[in-house]
């Protein structure tokens, strides 16, 4: 599984969505052996 992580903004107002998107990515990697982040 190849995961593309798209965070739409990098300012402090976007920190919540960005950090939880990272948690989703971490969960996908944890649950899917061999999963990689392509970006």
């Amino acid at each position: 599984m190849k995961i593309l992580n798209i965070n739409s903004s990098s300012n402090k107002l976007a920190s919540t969505s960005a950090s939880f998107a990272d948690k989703v990515v971490a969960q996908l990697i944890k649950q899917n052996e061999g999963a990689t982040v392509v970006k």
Partner: protein, 148 residues
């Protein structure tokens, strides 16, 4: 993330072969399209700014909407070309309720992804955080833990 301008439009809608300059203009768009094509799962983290998506996300979507690459026109309308992909949309907001009439972000993202063929979409909602963030964070954390 660059916004669509006349130079990009001219490169996108060229008749015949593209010039080297036009190919160079579309280099970033090509790279972004290839990333999406290559991926099995998209994770999109986006806040809601004044009821809609950040301009950078709109600019990104404009660059990956490419005729013949991510969608095409059929007899009855556009057809998405990106198949067998799933997207997680992680959205946060201060006051806007996701899915309400004031939300021009969640529905837009979902519609756009469907337009390019990504119809399996799941939301992780962290909305209206200014009215109490703990329950929302707890629910989002639980939902993420259930992702397989």
């Amino acid at each position: 993330m660059p916004f669509i301008d006349d130079t990009i439009l001219d490169a996108l809608f060229v008749q015949g072969e593209r010039t080297k300059e036009q190919k160079d203009t579309l280099k970033l768009s090509d790279e972004l399209v290839n990333e999406v094509i290559d991926a099995d799962v998209l994770v999109i983290g986006s806040p809601i700014y004044n009821f809609s998506v950040p301009a950078s996300l709109k600019a990104y979507f404009d660059l990956i909407a490419r005729v013949g690459l991510t969608f095409k026109y059929g007899e009855t309308g556009p057809i998405g070309l990106l198949e067998n992909k799933k997207a997680y949309i992680v959205m946060s907001s201060g006051g806007t309720e996701i899915g309400s009439d004031a939300d021009f972000a969640g529905n837009y993202i979902k519609y756009f992804l469907g337009f390019i063929g990504i119809t399996e979409v799941e939301f992780v909602k962290l909305d209206q955080l200014m009215f109490g963030s703990e329950p929302k964070i707890e629910a989002a954390t639980k939902k993420i833990a259930e992702i397989g």
